[in-house]
Symmetry: C2
Subunit: 324 residues, 2 copies
Amino acid sequence: MEFTFLGTSAGTPTRSRNVTGLALCRSGPKPWYLVDCGEGTQHQLLRTRYSVMQLRAIFITHIHGDHTFGLPGLLTSASMLGRTEPLDIIAPTQVQRLIHAVINNSDSSLSYSLNFIDSEAPDFYWQDDYFSVTNVALSHRVPCRAYKFTERHLERQLLQAELRQDGIEPGPSWGELQKGNDVLLDDGRLIRSDDYTHLPRTARRLIVAGDNDTPELLAEAARDSHVLVHESTYTQEVADRVGPWPQHSSAEQVARFAQQVKLPNLVLTHFSSRYQSGPVGTPHISQVAAEAMQHYQGNLFLARDFETYRLEKDLSLVPLSKGT
Amino acid sequence: MEFTFLGTSAGTPTRSRNVTGLALCRSGPKPWYLVDCGEGTQHQLLRTRYSVMQLRAIFITHIHGDHTFGLPGLLTSASMLGRTEPLDIIAPTQVQRLIHAVINNSDSSLSYSLNFIDSEAPDFYWQDDYFSVTNVALSHRVPCRAYKFTERHLERQLLQAELRQDGIEPGPSWGELQKGNDVLLDDGRLIRSDDYTHLPRTARRLIVAGDNDTPELLAEAARDSHVLVHESTYTQEVADRVGPWPQHSSAEQVARFAQQVKLPNLVLTHFSSRYQSGPVGTPHISQVAAEAMQHYQGNLFLARDFETYRLEKDLSLVPLSKGT
């Protein structure tokens, strides 16, 4: 499982950070998934291995422009490239209105269909062959969600000794059982895959959260998750000065939460544009890192644009490239 | 008078060319003017000396997304930066609907007012202290305009000998006359600025055209203009293969027109993303240049992103930086 940050700035882009977007895949870039789509996301994608032609679904956390204004351009560019595959858009219903209004007022049309799915539906659940996705309501100025991705269809190992012992000989039924399918034998017996296969590892689980001032809302979802990607717009000192109105989290808040729920890997993102990443300048992004480290003993990462992380099958998180 | 290309690609961005946008100023970046605003225009501006805080007006040639999808992000970013100055948006009326729909469906608001001016009004005319602007209807799949910028308030030279000869002595009235204002003297005489000042040079005139398959529509406007910025989406061979539907111009078409009207400076832009600018790759942007050169003997330029041109007071056009 890999994910690449397409933007790590809050509100407005900077010279080194675009506004929010994250590309996710299970094992290679076909298919892949996009979480949020700030302006310029299609531009960022041109510098990655991800193509809008292989995009399976877009998950939008909330309606703010720094998470949505890249949608019209990305969708119409995919059309100009000749996409025909339908595309799922999991988002608040206003996003559908925004897209339709923009298409209708720009003489645009799409060569493929959009399948809108309401992210705020109480029974929200999405899945394909690679992932099942649930979400968690967060606390922000507008309704906002965290998406939890759980990998599906893990490789099963056949319990060959048990199969032979019960008189089930090698053949097509073994293949079905290994795929997770139950099998009706010629002798009338119904054989359950779960009884004759073994899952040698845990399904990997990743949470990508939207804007949120209450990390504790993720306590339940985080319990069995291996990575949390969460906003950390400011340090606590700046958050105190700004006041509660924007409803963002400080580095300290997120770090304390991650420590409390014993989260193994925490990736912070969505930094206020006041933070610089160059060698000089105050306030500096290292202040955010220093604050988080004080309160969290797990593996801490501060995301940068184009940085790619791999969540290995052994559940370790490895940064693959340094980003910008 | 200077202008900087913020995007020179048609339809979709490439790694080296953004979609359309052009920044223009009279003498320094305060105030400045934007012609078209494709997605990512605010990002491009971060790499120039232009700030959204000093932007005086946005001129939109037509409603297509590669000329408009950067508006929501640019406008809301200006708001987040605290802009309070009203902003003129000269555009087809659908652009107003697009902006309102996006703002209403993204929990956005602006800290300043937008003043929408219909670019398709038959009597369109706009001016401020620096420029007067007219437009010309072009031929494209949707209504589209070229904007002609003419500098205003040229520096006048006082005809001092004539003033003294007519008994008008140095004083505040000389200052008013030099500014172009007529003056009522104490003795009751009304003195006209035009009678006692001289304009030592011609007002500079620049046309920035939108998408257009009929350059000849600009014949009248081009007659006294010093620079034409015009799309040249393909070479003639590609245009023939694509067919007339997209309603774009070939390099040959624009070059023939510029030669015919004896235009001194022609800057081509809005190149199909099929053209590469690197050392290898076919088709190559140099094919567009070669074709235009065959049919035009004036000063020919092919725009690149971030390239800045200065139209000097002596009416020569000088590229100031190489762009990307």
